[in-house]
Symmetry: C2
């Protein structure tokens, strides 16, 4: 650990800005979502991913992978959402161990009611504040960073932690 390369002025401001934006955006979006739709951000994400499939159904592990959640976390969260009637479970026809997560009619109504306001908030607080070149840069570098990070992850691991050293 010799002579660490600290962040210079611009790098430090970018990094701090990123973290601060992240936090404020989270607080704001979560607040709006809870107030207007009675959903948390995780709730919204689950419903959103489900609603993007043709039949509102996904294997639990498939959903967990898409969301980058551990199966454990998703299982717990689904149990809570299920009690609220937003989703349901079905046995998987092709794999006796499997669970299929199903979007209920109520869940679909919830995401459809929440989506316009949520997208509007995302625009108002972030997207519409970006210049075209900034939006393009955001798209480019986030995907670059994601590709690198995803490459470093173990192919399958329930713990959300890659097993490399």
């Amino acid at each position: 650990m010799d002579a660490p390369r600290w962040l210079d002025g611009r790098e430090d401001r970018a990094w701090r800005g990123y973290r601060r934006m992240r936090r404020l955006l989270d607080l704001e979006l979560a607040r709006d979502l809870a107030r207007d739709a009675g959903l948390s951000e995780p709730d919204y994400d689950v419903l959103s991913d489900l609603s993007e499939t043709p039949d509102g159904r996904l294997r639990l592990s498939e959903l967990a992978d898409r969301m980058l959640w551990s199966r454990s976390r998703l299982s717990h969260h689904l149990a809570r959402m299920r009690q609220r009637g937003l989703v349901d479970r079905e046995e998987c026809a092709t794999d006796g161990r499997g669970t299929v997560v199903v979007l209920t009619a109520q869940g679909r109504r919830a995401i459809e009611a929440a989506a316009p306001g949520h997208v509007a908030a995302v625009r108002r607080h972030l997207i519409d504040l970006l210049e075209p070149d900034e939006l393009a840069a955001l798209e480019r570098f986030t995907h670059r960073v994601v590709d690198r990070l995803a490459a470093g992850r173990a192919p399958r691991d329930d713990t959300d932690a890659p097993t490399d050293g």
Copy 2:
């Protein structure tokens, strides 16, 4: 709520990329930090903010404001960090209600041991992957977004939720 303006292709890719990057970066940085330094990200942030002051001391509410945490959350977290010997509490000389959070010698050693590796990880997984124009864009737009969001927040509110409608 008439005819919501959905995100177009580029906007949608940027927004999804942002959220995915955010999640993967969090997992990776938290993992590295835990493995190499035995600290969580919140631990690191607390220690980092404290170590940036001249004497390693901050009023609890001042620290909470800088971190955008509720006083309650910080109070709970400090109780845990205190049990591990990373920080301590002192009474505030100028305000009988107040608490001063103090970085202990052990806490200073912990942050100084953790920082080089953490900064290296931030570089490796994010900063060093950005082109100069992307870094500049990140700095610019995050600060713009933060300014807007900060302006919308009530000046003082323990709940982390602005009181506007």
